[in-house]
């Protein structure tokens, strides 16, 4: 299972903070993003930043291991 996390504007747009997604062998970050974009079309266009297990990631071809924690994040506005 992949733990997908949403925060701030994306959590508001999806109405969810955490979504479990079944892991499929060979699944990439891009695959996951596409499936979430189909499920949350009004939210995922905000996802300009991504993190896997708490580390910034840009490579959509990254293979996701089972039990990964993946965050799709809007541009940060702290400070």
């Amino acid at each position: 299972m992949i733990r997908v996390l949403f925060f701030g504007p994306i959590a508001a747009a999806t109405g969810e903070r955490e979504v479990p997604v079944a892991h499929v062998p060979g699944m990439t970050l891009g695959n996951l993003k596409e499936s979430l974009a189909a499920r949350y079309p009004d939210a995922m266009h905000l996802a300009t930043m991504m993190a896997v297990n708490g580390e910034h990631v840009r490579d959509l071809s990254l293979l996701l291991a089972d039990n990964s924690e993946v965050a799709f994040m809007a541009k940060f506005s702290g400070g």
């Binding site: 708490g54 994040m73 541009k75 940060f76 506005s77 702290g78």
Partner: protein
């Protein structure tokens, strides 16, 4: 003594943070600080309060990395970063950054670098609450 990097709901004391920084080394000849505050007016609207959401574990680890990077890049003797989350009212404190170095230039440059990097690297989001409604803030330079 409180940790050098913190994310917390409650307000912080600039004096306590500066004293903690000074206590770390007697070689410190310059301390530069940045205090970010909540404005009560933004984009032509009154703002009554701001709420912050964060990816807590990642935000804390990124802030710690940011502090370590700043210490290495500017040869700082020490640095501290405190960021509030939750609800902050207009005029209240949001973030405090302090950089201590042997000389002023490194401290000033490091302080500026840390707040600029924080805005790029640390997963925290700001929502402004106004009489007309609420909206997530779109970052600007």
């Amino acid at each position: 003594m409180k940790p050098s990097v913190r994310i917390q709901q409650e307000d912080f004391s600039q004096d306590e943070e500066i004293k903690a920084l000074q206590a770390s080394s007697k070689r410190m000849g310059g301390i530069a600080t940045f205090l970010g505050c909540a404005r009560d007016f933004s984009e032509g609207r009154e703002v009554s309060e701001i709420t912050f959401d964060a990816y807590g574990s990642m935000a804390l680890s990124e802030l710690n990395r940011l502090r370590s990077d700043a210490i290495a890049k500017y040869a700082l003797l020490d640095a501290r970063i405190v960021h509030r989350i939750g609800t902050v009212k207009g005029g209240e404190n949001i973030v405090f950054i302090a950089a201590g170095a042997e000389h002023r230039v490194a401290a000033l440059e490091a302080c500026r670098w840390m707040i600029d990097e924080l805005k790029q690297r640390v997963p925290i989001w700001k929502k402004e609450i106004t009489p007309q409604g609420e909206s997530w803030v779109t970052p600007h330079p």
